[in-house]
Amino acid sequence: MDMPVRAAARASFEITVNGERRRIEADLRTTLLDLLREHLGLTGTKKGCDHGQCGACTVLVEGRRINACLSLAIMHEGQSVTTIEGVGLPGNLHPLQAAFLEHDAFQCGYCTPGQICSALGMLAEVEHGEPSQVTRDLAAEAVPLTDEEIRERMSGNICRCSAYPQILEAIRDAAGAAA
């Protein structure tokens, strides 16, 4: 839709969340994270630091992982957002969610939705051959999904219970990658 020029302090727009088109009326200052949690009741996405440092709020926008806390909801007008609720629910888990259970890849679970959304985005980035700072051959078309690559690429998600070894195993397992 057309944004009114010099919009007032409130915003009115549409956004697609987990495949469902939603009509939003909210204060312009509403972050994507607060929109999901407080306006749409999707509390799977967690607020940790609220400053882009911990990754607990990671969601996928148009398939790419971002920190929902460092984005205004209005910036995503007309875009498609996937949260952990859209990844899979009890009884119909995504293989990555099942792998987190299988490998006990959490203790308190607070960072888990962000870890899983981040891992989904990360695997797509690797699929596209996007390099990381540990990628040796920048000219190569394909990036190997080594443990070193998984660790580096997941560095934006903090786990204060320090379940990192199990998170690594769960992602490696779900991706079907050789260690």
Binding site: R6, A7, A8, G52, G55, R65, I74, S118, E125, L138
Partner: protein, 314 residues
């Protein structure tokens, strides 16, 4: 967050005009730095001009064999571009050395240049800071800011510029294209974009109010080795304590000053036959330690010499 009004720009010139004409306006692109600072009320824009959807994300060849990267290309998109990876690997290395994957997916090339310092005293509204409040004083001068500048600092400010990307751009001799509020296109050398603090650290760039970065233009790739090295407190997702970008015969340093630091003295020394250690000394000999950051001088000397020697890294 303070209240603000919002508009989504539909042209670069229109965005520049709107930003210049509206009091307290700021450009919003990825928002990863600006929104963080708005939450802390360090940034208090009254109006946001959202430039994030302007058609400025293209990465295209230039007639002379260089590459033009649109300002709205994300850090991820630029780092992953095949032409950047193969012809300007130092730029890919610098981009993927910065922030986290989530932030790089959102942060733009233009915004990366315009991001503000991570000096802890700039981030702490309870402490005086000449950037936030000109004339208030600088808490970092005698504070616990081990990341402080060692080159080009002043009594008013000892902060550093946080961008890894800009260091690579300096080594590559990039230019920055802007559009001014009256619509004219301007080109600045990357080393002319940012300012040293002097007596006015609140003025961070040589861009006019409302002037919008539209692209970064890379000249044809230089002959010779390209490499980015970054030293920091942890292996990933941390700001640099010292970094350098080497591109052929050009060298630039990061995390040492309030701008990417083109190491012209080291370059001249090398051209004159100096050893790596002598070249490092030529540049770092002029460095001044601040409170608790003398280690950065030793670090800089060693990393420069190692990079010039070609010692394997990491």
């Amino acid at each position: 967050m303070r209240p603000f009004t919002y508009e989504r720009a539909d042209s670069a010139a229109g965005a520049a005009k709107a930003a210049a004409e509206t009091p307290g306006a700021r450009f919003l692109a990825g928002g990863t730095n600006l929104l963080d600072l708005m939450k802390l009320e360090i940034e208090r824009p009254q109006h946001l001009v959202d430039v994030g959807r302007l058609p400025l994300a293209e990465i295209a060849e230039t007639a002379d064999g260089g590459l033009r990267i649109g300002a709205m290309a994300t850090n991820s998109a630029a780092a992953s571009d095949r032409r950047v990876r193969t012809r300007y690997p130092v730029l890919t290395q610098a981009l993927v050395a910065g922030a986290s994957a989530q932030l790089r997916n959102k942060a733009t090339i233009g915004g990366n240049l315009m991001q503000r310092t991570r000096c802890p005293y700039f981030y702490d509204p309870a402490k005086p800071c000449n950037k936030r409040d000109p004339g208030a004083g600088c808490s970092a001068l005698e504070g616990d800011a081990r990341g402080n500048a060692i080159l080009g600092a002043s009594d008013a400010c000892v902060a550093t510029h946080p961008s890894d990307m800009a260091v690579a751009l300096s080594a590559l001799g990039a230019t920055v294209e802007t559009v001014a509020p009256a619509g004219e296109i301007r080109t600045l050398g990357i080393d002319d974009v940012h300012r040293l603090p002097g007596k006015a650290p609140q003025i961070e760039t040589n861009l006019a109010p409302g002037e919008l970065v539209t692209a970064v233009v890379l000249p044809p790739p230089p002959e010779g080795r390209q490499e980015y090295r970054k030293v920091r407190d942890r292996a990933s997702y941390a700001g640099g304590l010292f970094s350098l970008a080497l591109a052929g015969e050009r060298l630039a340093l990061g995390a040492v000053a309030l701008k990417p630091w083109r190491a012209t003295r080291a370059e001249a020394a090398l051209a004159g036959g100096a050893s790596p250690a002598e070249a490092a000394e030529a540049e770092i000999g002029a460095a001044h330690p601040g409170h608790r950051n003398a280690f950065k001088i030793t670090l800089a000397r060693r990393v420069i010499a190692a990079a010039l020697e070609g010692t394997p890294y990491p």
